[in-house]
Amino acid sequence: MPIESGNRRRTPAEPLPVRRKTSYGSAGRASRALSFSVAVRQVFGSGFGTGFWLAAGWLLLVAACALFATVLPVRDPLDPVIVNRLNAPFTSNWLGADGLGRDMLSRLVHGARVSVVISLTAVSIGMLIGGSLGILAGYFRGRFERALMAVLDVILAFPWLVLLLALVAFIGQSLMAISLAIGLLWIPAYARVARANTLSVVQREYVLAARAMGASTLRILLREVLPNVILPVLAYGLVAMGLVVIVESALAFLGLSVEAPQPTWGGMIAEGKRHLAIAPHVALVPSITMFLTVLSLNYVGDRLRSRFEVKESNL
């Protein structure tokens, strides 16, 4: 997989794409297509490279597998076919069979559900709660900010797995409980990002202008601060999702994520560890799938983040 390093930022000399006024009327399809490509270039810039699109394609594939797991033409992920036990890939099963003779491909597809659902919910929870707390702290400052930061420091004093194990023991092992536990873990990070961005936005002239015109605090927060803070916070989301996939699989590896029989990638790797000497594919297939997913999330996230940071600095 080609990996390009270094952020391709625009140099100051390079002109920024200018928003063109396009009339949709008589010119028809050609101008619409042109305006679409201009719009795409405005959002994404040009030249994301093959690596980016490969990674994005893989993520779409994983998401589609998770969404359509039950209707895809794969075998039953829970059906043990003992004769297939530990069969290598491309023999009886496309990606081989595990220690109970269950189809690995279908377990991967169904396991993707857990990773996708948990990473989406956990990041949303962290973003919503942490983001709002951070914006409020950055806007109101004072005692509230100091108290919040002190509480976050205390939470950060616990190694994440220690905190997570205790949380999971407390709220249980259902899909929602695990998402919630991991989501709570993300509150400090998001609060910090949102607070830092709010601090810089609040000093801008347009906030002062809104205040001078007599806008209410709520209006300033929602109409002036939020739209400018939300982009960097969202851009952080994909990288956070990659970390959530890792965190969830670590829990699953310890047998403390969503309970069996629901297949999870981390659980599959743990199962494969038992057969490492005779059938390494049982651990390798889910490992490589997960590695590609996390790598893609990191890569796409990194690319989008550097793109949005450029946009933000040009405001």
Partner: protein, 315 residues
């Protein structure tokens, strides 16, 4: 000294908050310890109540907290009701394994990260830099337990260089001890390596653009001396901070790694205590780990301002 005195109240406040949070977290766990000890079925409510009174569980939460904190300050975390072992003894007997694992991991990571980052920063933008950075990017997408699986597969199963599991104490045989610690430490080191490398590379590149580097070049100082003395030294302070902050990640990784390789360390003790609902043991270990983490970062923070003249004189 002045600095220590100014920061001490912050340290004590954080430690108090950490201890209360630990106590609260573990006290709120579901499952009555008295019932757990006596066994679930066929125990009279009177027997449960008697044991609760004996363990002091019938007193109010705050009273129990101060009682627990008071004895914790004297180094007494109580006795595990499951095994009868003193919690402090249990931690101390397993601590050397975890410390050795963590220290070896950090040393391996630094030994690899520093030269690679220097190479990368010196040739910034070259093909070599891109390969090294891409490798680091890929390493960050591999969780430590997956790295452990890969390493066991390659170095233990196929090449038979190291034992796949087990632990030999240093006092029994130093060479066998290092051999049994090699794979766990390597698995832990890889993620840290990627983080350190990424940070140091960025830091070095910006340092290399400073005027005093140009001056040194103009004076004819040899390149290796510029890299080591003029560039690496100022950059090593932020590296030190990150090594301190990443200690939480190392400890989290150690919990899983110790479980995979069956090492008798603190992380495995914590994991097994959580599975057995041994609350006093969990409380003791979590408080111990969090305290160690806060204190180490406090010391890093102090040494940072003592060693770096720029920070020292800014005060």
């Amino acid at each position: 000294m002045h600095l220590v005195l100014r920061k001490l109240p912050w340290l004590i406040g954080t430690l108090l908050a950490v201890s209360f949070f630990t106590f609260l977290l573990v006290s709120l766990l579901p499952g009555d310890p008295a019932v757990m000890i006596l066994g679930a079925g066929g125990v009279s409510p009177e027997a449960v109540a008697a044991l609760r009174a004996e363990l002091g569980l019938d007193r109010p939460l705050l009273v129990r907290y101060f009682d627990w904190l008071g004895s914790a300050l004297t180094g007494d975390f109580g006795r595990s009701p499951m095994t009868g072992q003193s919690v402090m003894d249990a931690i101390l007997s397993r601590l050397p394994v975890t410390i050795q694992l963590g220290v070896m991991a950090i040393i391996i990571a630094l030994l690899l990260a520093v030269p690679l980052a220097m190479l990368s920063a010196y040739h910034a933008g070259s093909r070599l830099d891109r390969v090294i950075s891409g490798l680091g990017f890929a390493l960050m997408s591999i969780p430590s337990f997956m790295m452990a699986i890969f390493l066991i597969l390659i170095l233990a199963v196929s090449m038979n260089l190291f034992p796949a599991t087990g632990w030999v104490p240093f006092s029994v045989s130093p060479t066998a001890n290092l051999r049994s610690a090699a794979l766990p430490a390597l698995s832990l080191a890889m993620i840290e390596l990627a983080l350190y490398m990424r940070l140091l590379r960025t830091d070095l590149i910006s340092t290399l653009q400073q005027d005093y580097i140009t001056l040194a070049r103009a004076k004819g100082v040899p390149n290796w001396q510029i890299m080591l003395r003029h560039a690496l030294r100022p950059s090593s302070f932020s590296l030190m901070t990150v090594v301190g902050l990443q200690l939480g990640g190392v400890i989290s990784g150690a919990i899983i790694i110790e479980e995979i390789f069956a090492l008798p360390g603190v992380g495995r003790l914590l994991y097994q205590s959580i599975l057995q609902r041994d609350l006093l043991m969990v409380q003791g270990i979590v408080l111990f780990i969090a305290t160690a983490y806060v204190v180490v970062n406090f010391l890093v923070d102090l040494s940072y301002s003592l060693l770096d003249p720029r920070v020292r004189h800014a005060d």
